[in-house]
Amino acid sequence: MIFNEEFETLPREALEALQLKRLQQVAGRVYHTVGFYKRVFDEAGITPDDIKTLDDIRRLPFTTKQDLRDNYPFGLFTVPMSNIVRLHASSGTTGKPTVVGYTRRDIEIWSRLMARSLVSAGLTKNDIIHNAYGYGLFTGGLGVHYGAEMLGASVIPMSSGSTKKQIMILQDFGPTAICCTPSYALHLAERGENMGVDMRSLRLRVGILGAEPWNEKIRQEIEDRLGITALDIYGLSEIMGPGVAMECAEGRNGLHVFEDHFIVETINPETGETVPYGEEGELVFTSLTKEAFPLIRYRTGDMSRLMKEPCKCGRTHVRMARVSGRSDDMLIIRGVNVFPSQIESVLRGIEGLEPHYELIVDREDKLDTLEIRVEMSEDIFSDEIKILQKIEQRITKDIKDYLGVIAKVKLVGSRTLERSEGKTQRVIDRREV
C-alpha cells in the first residue's frame, strides 16, 4: 500500500527535476534570510544561482551540530516566531539542546510523511496504534501521533514508561500496531512474559521501531516474542522527526528516504567526499520543503549506505540501509543522545573533581543503563561518608538536569582508570548493538 502514490512512485527523472527545483528554492531562501547561510555560502564562493544540476549540491557547505549550537536557540529559523506553531528540541553536546521549529505547513507535511511511513508498514485507518514514543520535547511521540491521526487510524498516546500499564493497555485495547524503540519492544515482551501474559496472542501485528541502533538478530527476536512484523523507521529532529525514511513491508530491506522532501547523500566522514551508492558513509540530509528550519547538507553522524536498485513495493525513492553506527562517539541511551563530552563538561563543572572518568553502558532487563566511574581526587576526598555520597548525588543530579538520563555514579580510586588519548576508549559499551 502507498499513501501518496503519485509522489512516492514518481519516475526518477521527474523526481530529480522536482528535487532540483526545490533545492534551488530552499538554497535561495536560506541565503537571503539567514545570516549564517549567507556567510558560509559566500565563504565557499557559491551563490544559490550557481546551482544548475543536482550534483551542484556538493559545492554547498555542510551544516553541523556545532553550527546549530552556535546559533542557539532560534538563529537558523527562516521565519518570524509568529509563523511558528511548534518547537521541539533534542539534547546537545554542551547541555544546551538543539531547538527546531515548525510552521503550520511544516507540521502538515511532517504528518503526511509520517502517514506515508505507517502505510508503508501496512497500516490503514482501521488500525489502532499504540504509541510508546515519548511525548514532549522529543519529536518521536507527537510526530507519530500526528501521522496516525492524518491517516485516520486510532492512536493511543501512551508515551514512554509505566511498562505494567502499557501491557494492560496492549491486552485490553487491542492495538494492532506499536511504535517504540526496539529495546523497549523487547522490554515489553520480557515484562509481559514475566507477568504471565501470552504476548504472542495479542492483536499486535506490526511494530514500527526506531530511534536507536539495532540489527537483524534483534528484529528476529522481537518478531518471535511479540508475534509481529517489525519494521525500521528513521528520523531526526534536526531534519524533521520520525518519518524521514521508512522501511516498506514488501521489501523489508532498507528504508525509503522520502526524496521529494529530502536529498540524502553519504559522505566519507573524514574527508567530506561523497561516497558511491552501496558504500558505507555518513548520512547527510538537505530538507527541501521545510519552512521554519530548513537545513542544507546537515551531517547526521549516522553511518549507513544507500541503495538505488528498484524496490518491489513500487516506490522509486532511494533506500538507506539500517543505521550501522556513528561517525562520532555519540551514545544513544534509552533513546536519548549522549556525547561523552557532555558528561565531561558536567564533571568539569563540579569543583575539585578531576575529569578522569569511564562510561559503562549496558542493558538490564532490555533497557539501557549508564554507569559513570569517576576517579577520586585529594580535593574532594573526605573522612566522612556523607560528603562523598553528596558528591555522587550531585553528579547524578547534574547529569539528569543537563542530559536527561539517569546515571549510576561510582567513585573509584585515583589513577585506577586507564589513561588514553582517544575519547571513545573511555566508553565501554556492553550492549549488543
Partner: protein, 143 residues
C-alpha cells in the same frame, strides 16, 4: 589536644584493605586504631598510626587518595554508663558526633574512644569542662 588521623579511600573490591595494611607494614608503621566505614560502592579507612608523616607518604606513593584530619581521643571510665556520661555532655552542648571508634590500647584502667565532632574545638572544651581526660596526640601515637 587533637590527634591526627589519616583516611584512605578504598574501592569496594577484594584486597583493598590488605593492600593498605601491606603498604604500612612494609613502611614499618604501627597501626594504633582503625575504623572502616563503607557503602555499597566505596569505603573510607581511618587510621591512627605511630608515624603519621611516613604513613601518609607511603600510601600516597602507592597511589592511594589520602586525607589527614584531626580527631579527639578521650578516656572513658571502664564501667557501665561510662560512654553515656560522654554522650550526655555532648548532647547538652549541642555537639554533633560525625563518627566514633574505639582505640585498641587502654590508658591505664580506661578505654579510649576516638571522636570526630562537627566542631572539634567546642567538643574538646565541653569534655575538659566536664572533667574528662582528652589525650594529646603525642601520647596517643605512643600508647
Amino acid at each position: 589536644m587533637k590527634v591526627e588521623q589519616v583516611s584512605v579511600f578504598l574501592e569496594n573490591k577484594p584486597g583493598g584493605l590488605e593492600h593498605v595494611t601491606r603498604v604500612l607494614a612494609d613502611a614499618d608503621i604501627n597501626i594504633r586504631a582503625l575504623s572502616l566505614a563503607d557503602t555499597s560502592d566505596f569505603g573510607i579507612l581511618r587510621l591512627i598510626v605511630n608515624d603519621m608523616e611516613s604513613a601518609a607518604k607511603a600510601l600516597q606513593d602507592e597511589g592511594f587518595t589520602v586525607k589527614r584530619s584531626h580527631v579527639v581521643a578521650v578516656e572513658i571510665p571502664d564501667r557501665p554508663g561510662g560512654m553515656h556520661s560522654i554522650s550526655k555532655v555532648l548532647t547538652e552542648k549541642n555537639i554533633n558526633v560525625e563518627y566514633a571508634y574505639a582505640f585498641v590500647e587502654r590508658s591505664g584502667e580506661n578505654a579510649i574512644i576516638i571522636f570526630r565532632f562537627d566542631d572539634i574545638d567546642a567538643g574538646i572544651d565541653a569534655l575538659l569542662e566536664n572533667g574528662f581526660t582528652v589525650l594529646p596526640g603525642e601520647k596517643v601515637y605512643r600508647l
